[in-house]
Amino acid sequence: MGPSWDDLKRQLGKVEKPARYVGGELGAVRKDLASVDVAFALAFPDVYEVGVSHLGSLIIYSILNSLDFVACERVYMPWTDMEQLLKDKGWPLFSIESRVPLASFDIVGFSLQYELTYTNILAMLDLGGIPLRAEDRGDSHPLVIAGGPCAMAPEPLADFVDAFALGDGEELVVDIVRVYRDWKKEGASRRELLKRLAGVEGVYVPSLYEVVRDETGTRAVPKDLDGFRAPPVVRRRVLKSLEDAPYPDKPFIPLIPPIHDRAMVEIFRGCGQGCRFCQAGMLYRPVREREPETVDKLAREVLKHSGYDEVSLVSLSSADYGFIKEAVSRLLRKDPCGARVSLPSLRVDSFSVGLAEMLGSSATSGLTLAPEAGSQRMRDAINKRVTEEEVLEAAESAFSAGYSHIKLYFMIGLPGETDEDVLDIARLASRIREIGRKMGKRPTVVVSVSGFVPKPHTPFQWEPAVPPDELKRRQRLLRNALRGPGLEFRYHDAELSALEAVFARGDRRLGAALEAAFRKGCRFDAWPDQVRFEAWAEAFRETGIDPAGYAYRERPRDEVFPWDHLSSGVRKAFLWREREKSREALTTWDCREGRCTGCGICGDFGVAVRLAGGRKGPSFEAGR
């Protein structure tokens, strides 16, 4: 059993931010767990404030709780002090709503947003009283599933997770709980459940596959189980339309501020920009827009329900939405909703700056632009289709709109990057500062750089990451070039990028290293003040893993990847073509602009780019 409220409250004074573990949010759903067929624990492997901001989890929570045979409760990774308290008191990790142990749920579903949360997943299973390894779990244990972007290359977690849910979760999670309910009623074996799940489109059950390693690479091949074979390739689930999908217009409202403390409306899913480093840009195709009337209606509903004074119109590149100006002006001017509007992820152009100006944020906050690379050659290579003139124009419009604080995001360590490319970041920043000065401002230009990490299912999946020492040298190069008033430099931890690079393209062998690191106490690896690199180094050594082979090795064209049996819908041939174009610094357009670029998903998956307002999307070209 989990602790009673009286026992818990006597202990919570010992931990930081105890409200993380108490729940009671407005709009949280608490059903009687004994009266439903399926008790589902939605597990987020990071702290509460991060987890409650995650839109995907809000969507799944509200869909599951809308089903009368399911109760969905939440559980977040306890901070280290709370983990200690749980151990000291002998309490299991418990759900927020009913305070019952993780192990007492039928299904535990993890959200996989980031590779550096993997040790937290093991910690949560362990604290929850669930055997870590799938093979050690029996009929009395929960089914452990996981979804989210990392589920598309999940082999490092394959030993610990029973089934991965690939792609859009809205329909998939309902299919999964239905299969589970029917199986439970029949009282069939756990193996039978796994087989049935493998029959659901979008579900990958790793234990039904054998990993074969040879000179061509690492492949997962379906095992022959008395005539049963799981599909050789599992396809990601893709919602045909976002417009018709359910949306959490009455989300729970945390009592302590989440990292994104505002209402959210997803205006479209997918992205057509085709930046070659960006995994999300490849994993969520095709673009599916919501109708502007629906965006408006949802924004007002969430605002009314929550009491928030700000609504964020979220997507991977919000300025690309076909009705963005209309949507913003309707909420702010035509029929004021009484709240501010914010747009994450703007493009680097005057149009976006104009949008930012409409939002009226110039006086109070800075403007963030992400040119991603300093030189034109490098921007072309990564398909960030923005010219130097456009960047400077955007900066000029920003200064004339009243911004004086401009933050620029870049990556270093990109494939084919030279020192000149790195120094061009500093040149670009100085030029922007000059523009600001000429316009009579006292500009601050903040340059924020992170290390490039090659991700599966992207054109750069064949590319090596740059080792931390070299990354640090490039950081220093840039820092020295960026000295002077009005220029600020910020960078991400190079070692963190290296660890991420190992797990992003990991195979099943990494499971042993992951478990070893967890046993050594590694937690919150994404948090620079928590990650323990020495423990990780030991874990790799003890398990015979060469992390460099995962992170810094360039893969040959015909290598079979540990995620090749999981299809995002974007063909590997397209990714390779993009990679070749990258080497010649050739760009590829956004298919939303009218012509298909042949990524393959629309034809292969029977889906289409859906633009709002009845605008015609590109007609895809089959089989290039």
Binding site: K9, G13, K14, A19, G24, E25, L255, G307
Partner: protein
């Protein structure tokens, strides 16, 4: 129009900090549709004052906040909309208008009456420690903050303590009246912690503390 609300920060929301409470009330007032006036300036804020901060962990049975409203809305209607907009754990007890001539709230607060609930201690042991505490001329206590350690004399703030009462097996509850001096006050947890000096062996973090009421001049 300025209105004053007497509300409860209940057991279930005791772990909210003062800023969290302010945020929850602000969201609730927007949900309730109260016409709260906004401050001037670059980032206008609703004119709400939440008084007499309670620390994380401490519940409050009769807490106070003021809101400045535009127009003269009906008090009964305001109370109804707010009551139905508050999250679980909060409750609205009273709502009334306050005139412009009133002295600032914090200046009118004389003391807070707390109840302190402890487990695993003998009433007799607490009684003895408290007697010694009250006899002392000063009780210095180090308040550890992230960037500084401040020493305060707790003694003058403790106006009185009630008789420790057994509340079931191994549990003791007692009242404690703590002074406010121009907005300055001390926390009951600090007083419990300082009792170690007088021979009490109790973890102040395990004490469950409620402010029963605020006492005015």
């Amino acid at each position: 129009m300025r209105v004053r609300a007497v509300y409860e920060k209940g057991d279930r929301v005791r772990f909210l900090g003062h800023l969290d409470v302010g945020r929850c009330l602000k969201l609730a007032l927007r949900r309730a549709g109260w016409p709260v006036e906004m401050s001037q300036g670059f980032s206008p804020k609703p004119k709400i004052s939440v008084y007499a901060p309670l620390p994380v962990g401490v519940a409050g049975h009769r807490e106070y906040f003021d809101a400045v409203l535009s127009g003269r809305p009906d008090i009964g209607a305001l109370a109804r909309t707010l009551a139905s907009s508050l999250p679980e754990g909060f409750a609205l007890h009273e709502l009334y208008p306050v005139g412009d001539g009133e002295p600032p709230f914090e200046e009118t607060v004389k003391a807070s009456l707390y109840s302190v609930d402890m487990e695993g201690v003998e009433p007799e042991a607490i009684r003895r420690a408290l007697d010694a505490f009250l006899k002392a001329s000063q009780v210095l206590f180090d308040v550890v903050r992230p960037n500084e350690v401040k020493t305060v004399d707790l003694r003058p703030f403790v106006l009185g303590v009630g008789e420790p009462e057994e509340a079931g097996a191994d549990r003791v509850v007692l009242d404690m009246t703590i002074a406010h001096d121009k907005g300055r006050t001390v926390r009951p947890q600090w007083v419990i912690a300082s009792l170690a000096e007088f021979g009490l062996n109790a973890d102040p973090r395990e004490a469950i503390i409620d402010r029963r009421k605020i006492i005015f001049e």
